[in-house]
């Protein structure tokens, strides 16, 4: 097995949660020990992820690469690596594990071992998704995380958990079965499952279109893009706090990550062709998510629908194909994870106190829980992209990209930002200063554990908001690489912007150097 500097850091990140999960099953001690063991594993996971910060933006495309044969007969290998697209997603996943454990410390009281077992499996699979450089390995992790997430919703969820969990599972799995067909097709055409090798090849336009459609469906469901979003509010509302946090912070990012990792580099011509539709759907998601969020009375539902809108900005940024747009999108992926993750965590804390998620039952808290409201305010302002917070940077980059590409696209997306301000401020106003409906004994302010859960996220809100260049500097070289390869391939193919679809369908892949040499012989 080839590794980076002799230490397989990415494998360690994947294996550590698995080992911890097995330890939990073997130990089967009391609930407190279970929580401590998982928290310890989470902290260790964060420490293990620190070497990834040594990622060199100007270095090779994939770093921390690990490679070992898996099934040579079919060209499958255990191949992991990190680039600017996946780096922050992996770091975010590692960070979320200890925070989720802390956030569920008192929230989860039944089947505690199994709950933490699922959390650990999720973390392992999610890191695997972001690090996999073999298409089959990617699919293995992609599907493997469905099972623990399904159980998180189905076992520890709210009253309609059965319905929500089945809907989640059916939607996402049904979408990704076509992804499997695309993976098989890529192997036949490209001759390998290795993603870096597949990226170097070009495919005929007709093939790209079919492959794009198959992959985009899986990714669009995961994002989720309107109109494939209906599983999301149900899943979010019914999931326990930690489940919602993982869903928002990590799972939704897998869809947008899939677009960046596979659609743009592997099917560049099809991506360009489909871009108008994808942009239109993104804007629809932004506006739809915002409008529906505005009408919600359940705080969790409101944040869930706001996610549809926020993720619309991410897909919009991706399909602008400009460095600004795509870096805004990636930053927004990270930001949404931090901000919405924080908000869901806070809703969980509120639910523990009031046993209700209705705005009407949780009004006027500013007087009783100032610290809570302060942090809630931080995340809310970040969610509405207030200057100085992380989301502002991401959203502005996407909007700049949009205006630079086509002013109409920019104009169409702007109301989304205003809608976000409307629903978040309305929520904040009522929860903080609204007329208290009932004074409950439960209104106690944040405890030390809760502070510890939320402060890291709040710090990140300001850190990225005030010093975004650090993150952008790491991300940009990878984006430039993807976009320039994409343009070069499209040019080599002879794709022009005004070419009609029928003519595009005739575009065959350009010959590779080896093939041309063969013909000349």
């Amino acid at each position: 097995m080839t590794t980076h500097n002799g230490f397989p850091v990415v494998t360690a990140l994947i294996v550590l949660p698995l080992v911890a999960a097995v330890v939990l099953l073997v130990l089967r001690r009391n609930e407190h020990t279970t929580r401590l063991v998982t928290l310890g594993a989470g902290i260790l996971e964060c420490l293990l992820a620190l070497p990834l910060l040594g990622y060199a933006p100007d270095g090779p495309a994939f770093q921390f690469v690990e490679h070992a044969p898996w099934l040579p007969a079919l060209g499958m290998s255990y191949h992991l690596g990190v680039d600017g697209l996946s780096l922050y997603m992996i770091l975010l996943t590692a960070l979320m594990l200890p925070l989720c454990v802390l956030g569920s410390w008192t929230y989860i009281s039944k089947r505690v071992t199994e709950f933490h077992f699922c959390l650990l499996l999720m973390t392992s699979a999610c890191i695997g998704v972001f690090a996999a450089l073999d298409f089959v390995l990617f699919y293995v992790f992609w599907e493997a995380m469905l099972v623990p997430m399904y159980l998180l919703i189905a076992v520890w969820g709210g009253p309609r958990r059965r319905y929500a969990s089945i809907k989640f599972f059916l939607y996402t799995l049904a979408g990704s079965t076509l992804l499997l067909a695309a993976i098989v097709a890529f192997r036949q055409v490209g001759g390998t499952f290795a993603i870096p090798e597949l990226m170097e090849k070009t495919y005929s336009f007709r093939f790209q279109m079919w492959a794009f459609l198959a992959m985009a469906l899986a990714f669009a469901i995961k994002v989720p893009m309107f109109p494939f979003h209906t599983w999301l509010p149900a899943a979010h509302v019914e999931a326990p706090a930690a489940g919602s946090v993982l869903l928002a912070a990590i799972l939704l990012k897998m869809g947008t990550y899939g677009f960046l990792r596979f659609c743009l580099p592997l099917t560049p011509a099809a991506s360009v062709t489909a871009a108008p539709v994808m942009i239109a759907v993104s804007i629809a998601s932004i506006l739809y998510g915002g409008c529906i969020a505005l009408g919600q009375t359940d705080i969790k539902k409101l944040i869930a629908y706001s996610s549809v809108g926020h993720m619309g900005f991410v897909t919009l940024g991706i399909f602008l194909f400009s460095v600004k747009g795509v870096s805004g999108a990636i930053l927004q992926m990270l930001n949404h994870g931090i901000t919405t993750g924080g908000l869901f965590m806070m809703v969980g804390l509120l639910y523990e106190r009031s046993h209700s998620r209705e705005i009407a039952d949780n009004q006027g808290l500013g007087k009783f829980m100032p610290a809570y409201m302060f942090l809630f305010g931080v995340f809310s302002f970040s969610s509405l992209a207030f200057p100085g917070t992380n989301s502002f940077v991401g959203e502005v980059l996407v909007l700049i990209g949009a205006f630079a590409g086509n002013p109409w696209v920019g104009f169409a997306a702007v109301p989304g930002a205003m809608l976000a301000a409307a629903y978040m401020l309305r929520l904040l106003q009522r929860v903080t200063w609204g007329e208290p409906t009932s004074f409950k004994k439960g209104w106690y302010d944040l405890g030390a554990r809760e502070w510890a859960t939320l402060v890291p996220l709040a710090l990140l809100v300001f850190y990225i908001g005030l010093a975004p260049s650090l993150a952008i500097r790491t991300i940009e070289p990878s984006i430039e690489r993807v976009l320039s390869a994409m343009n070069a391939k499209n040019q080599a193919m002879g794709l022009t912007p005004d070419m009609p679809l029928a003519q595009r369908m005739e575009l065959a892949a350009p010959l590779t150097v080896a093939q041309s040499a063969d013909l000349a012989r």
Partner: protein, 466 residues
């Protein structure tokens, strides 16, 4: 010494004899030593994997394909005896019950090596006759009687059909050796009679495989048969069918009439099986329809007709028996009185028997084809092979069918994990749990590290299609 080449068969024959003697002596239970002896049989089969040779006027051949399937049959038989041995209090688990099972497995082992149509037919009958006796064993139950009659009647009719087909092949080709048949043309234009004959002959094996439209017996028989018998009937005889189909498919090149028929039958079979399974409440019936769908998936490899396709079919049948036996293990272990569990009986299984719930979840997710289980890798090989041969539509049908099947497999897990029940906890002996755990671990291991067994299957495939 050729006798050493036949060790797997001889070991099983030895078991049959030992069980026969035990039943004559009126021994009450053999569950003490039989699983161990069957386990040794797996080791013997493993040792025999490299055996090569031809005997009995070249009608019986030991090659990579036959030895691979013998290993899988030995493994499957060992698992079934292991499951059955867990039911110590069951009065029906007499030596003659196991003798009939072993006899059927022995017939299937012979079938794996037969390369001549008449011998093949005889081996098939040998494996079937003992099952005719086994299925109605739950004598007092009307459904068991019905299942037995259905199995025998359908079986007899289809056997007659196969024999009829065999006569056509003999008439048209003047030979019954597969190698000689493979050398001649199999297009409809050249040899219409032979193609019709082959189709009829194949029908016999489609029946064993429960491929649509030869599947009608399957859910009823599963439902009526004793749980342990159903576990056997649902898995091991299918291996026999697959091995013969793989052998016969090896002489049809891709995109001939026969492979196209296989592809269409496969597509219809998976769709019909999955749709029918959606509405089942009886877990055994559900698994019955699921096996109809899985027979369809195997057709992906056979229709591909390439070396990769045949190895994929061989590998998938191994994955299938492991995951299906894991599911049947749960069915057998949880039903105390031997009755058929329904979906509602699975409610709250996580609380009543956490380990069983876990094994059921692994089996169900493997049957869906979810990574990292053997079901996923097996399906991936099948899809790759079919796509490579241009059966794109079949691949799409297969993945869409996977999407349909999620619902009913998931409902097994849903009932086990999210259902609540007041039923008492299920006491499972530690030994039985370790056995079930091993089974689930095998399903996972074969998914994570498929290379060693896939290489064996690939050897079998390449040998047929160099």
């Amino acid at each position: 010494m050729t006798i050493y080449l036949l060790l797997p068969e001889l070991w099983l024959l030895g078991l049959v004899c030992a069980l026969f003697v035990a039943s004559l002596k009126g021994v009450k239970s053999v569950s003490g030593w039989l699983p161990a002896a069957a386990g040794i049989g797996v080791l013997v089969a493993l040792m025999g994997v490299s055996a090569r040779g031809e005997m009995l006027y070249a009608t019986y051949r030991l090659d990579a394909l036959s030895q691979f399937f013998k290993l899988v049959i030995a493994l499957g038989f060992a698992i079934v005896t292991g499951i059955a041995a867990g039911k110590k209090d069951d009065a029906d688990m007499t030596p003659d019950y196991f003798m009939l099972l072993a006899l059927s497995a022995w017939g299937l082992m012979l079938l794996a090596s037969c390369v001549e149509l008449v011998t093949l037919y005889l081996a098939l009958e040998l494996s079937s006759y003992s099952l005719y006796a086994l299925i109605p064993l739950r004598g007092q139950d009307r459904r068991a009687a019905e299942a037995g009659i259905k199995y025998i009647l359908f079986g007899a009719a289809v056997t007659a059909l196969a024999l009829f087909g065999l006569s056509y092949i003999m008439a048209a080709k003047h030979t019954t050796y597969i190698s000689a048949l493979a050398a001649s043309s199999w297009s409809f234009a050249d040899a219409p009679l032979a193609v019709v004959g082959l189709t009829l002959f194949l029908a016999g094996f489609f029946y064993k495989l429960a491929l649509f439209p030869f599947h009608f017996w399957c859910p009823d028989v599963y439902q009526g048969a004793k749980n342990e018998t159903a576990a056997y009937v649902a898995t091991i005889p299918k291996l026999g069918a697959v091995v013969v189909l793989v052998r016969l498919a090896a002489f049809v090149t891709p995109h001939m009439e026969v492979t196209d028929i296989l592809a269409i039958l496969g597509a219809v079979s998976m769709t019909a099986g999955n749709l029918a399974a959606l509405v089942q409440r009886d877990v055994k019936r559900l698994l019955g329809y699921s096996s109809v769908a899985h027979a369809g998936y195997v057709m992906l490899g056979l229709a591909a007709g390439s070396a990769a396709g045949l190895s994929a079919a061989a590998f998938y049948s191994l994955a299938y028996i492991l995951m299906n036996l894991a599911a049947f293990y749960v069915v057998c272990t949880m039903s105390v009185g031997g009755e058929n569990p329904s979906l509602d009986d699975l409610d709250g299984l996580y609380k009543r028997a956490p380990a069983l719930a876990m094994i059921l979840a692994v089996a169900a997710f493997a049957l869906v084809g979810l990574p990292p289980t053997a079901g996923f890798t097996g399906k991936l090989f099948l899809l790759s092979a079919a796509w490579d041969q241009g059966y794109h539509w079949l691949v799409i049908v297969a993945v869409l069918n996977t999407a349909i099947s999620i619902y009913y497999y998931l409902s097994l897990v849903r009932h086990a994990y999210t259902g609540e029940s007041e039923a008492p906890a299920i006491a499972v002996p530690r030994g039985a749990l370790v056995f079930g755990g091993l089974l689930a671990a095998l399903v996972l291991l074969l998914g994570i590290l498929p290379a060693p067994l896939y290489d064996l299957a690939a050897m079998a495939g390449t040998q047929l299609h160099p």
